[in-house]
Symmetry: C2
Subunit: 206 residues, 2 copies
DNA sequence: TGTACATCAGTGAACGCGCGTTCACTGATGTAC
DNA sequence: TGTACATCAGTGAACGCGCGTTCACTGATGTAC
């Protein structure tokens, strides 16, 4: 619990595993995916380059741990936005969506890595529960916005897919600064508020 | 115009620049982004590793050319799907969207690279017109599906953004096999047809 | 409470690898006369 | 039509770099007695 002095150098780090993951998150944010390596993470933590091997056998394993932590922080960001908003369902959907987009914008490389690594969901056991944690927020919010339609589990899934698709698309284009293309005339990026409430769902029928 | 024999080795390649770009596209498809290097492209073409320098000063420049060619092929794929479909507007929108998704699924790494490099739109002059070529398809299709609303240019832009956001989100999640998460119960990936027609747009007002 | 010893986590030198880059070269092509 | 020469495109050896990985080591910690 006690944090050792910042300048204190100890032979045993004490929390190297978690520190390497956080170093990885920082590197992704500051220097991008290409800069992510075992050696770079070790250097940022201030440990010799051989040290990570004790906790992560390969770079891929460290990446998986970083992505898992990314999903947890992603879910936390959405919940934080949601909890700070008014309690009506429309506002809560909007708030969690804003959290989704804000996270993507703040961590574009991590976001890209998170959503391109899940193919290996089976290989790294940490990954699945972490990504489910994020998906659970989306599921909750979908149920809140369309409770009747969601009584049918197939419709529930369809509703989730529609909501996710839209939010994910927006977050992606926003994080990658793609709207620059669409509105070079106005020079204004569309905001989620401009576009999201103008969308409506056809009620699903049995 | 005449294609030299396949096994004929010539000192001067004759079309090395374009050949390197196509080698890059193949490498992205077959081995992924991490495998893309000047040396790998040269090797695939069957040319010495120093040769690309005569056409592409750095890897970044070659990447930009690959991405530009990617956008051109992307636009062509959408148009091909569109032209093969019935001529009513709804079917044409659906068809071009299917082209969008199909391209992303067939070239996930290229697709990712295309939509994460555009930040450097200004640096590589080829990039902007190529990406606009793809965006033009989306614009046409938007006008066709909501001609009244699109008389107002602000609404036109909003409509484009909504359509793009949805299609791009779906293509992204599909290409990255993300729907595996959402419907582990059913084990079935949602299809564009299941989800896209269930979406409707609120008419925009002045 | 003290000593011996096993275990564990981090060190630092060394290795091979693929990469981008440089450079003197050479083969092929095109142009001037 | 033929010759000389400039230009251009591709070659292959060499360099330094950061990377992952190995390995004998050493400092710190925990446990047995």
């Amino acid at each position: 619990m006690e944090d050792p002095g910042l300048n204190e150098t100890k032979y045993h780090h004490g929390n190297l595993k978690q520190a390497l993951v956080e170093a990885g998150l920082d590197i992704l944010r500051e220097d991008g995916l290409a800069a992510l390596s075992l050696r770079a993470c070790a250097a940022r933590v201030g440990v010799s380059h051989g040290a990570p091997k004790n906790h992560f056998a390969t770079l891929a394993v460290l990446q998986a741990a970083i992505v898992a932590e990314g999903f947890r922080q992603f879910a936390a960001t959405m919940r934080r936005h949601m909890n700070a908003a008014a309690k009506d369902s429309k506002t809560q959907v909007m708030a969690s969506a804003r959290g989704y987009v804000a996270f993507a914008e703040a961590n574009p490389d991590l976001f890209r890595l998170m959503f391109s690594m899940e193919r290996q969901l089976d290989v790294y056991p940490d990954l699945m529960p972490a990504s489910r944690e994020a998906y659970a927020v989306l599921r909750e919010v979908t149920q809140r916005i369309a409770p009747d339609s969601c009584e049918n589990p197939v419709h529930q899934t369809t509703n989730e897919t529609m909501l996710w698709t839209f939010i994910h698309g927006f977050a992606n284009l926003k994080a990658n600064r793609q709207f620059y293309t669409s509105n070079a005339e106005t020079g204004k990026d569309p905001e989620l508020e401009d576009v999201f409430p103008k969308l409506s769902y056809v009620e699903l029928e049995d």
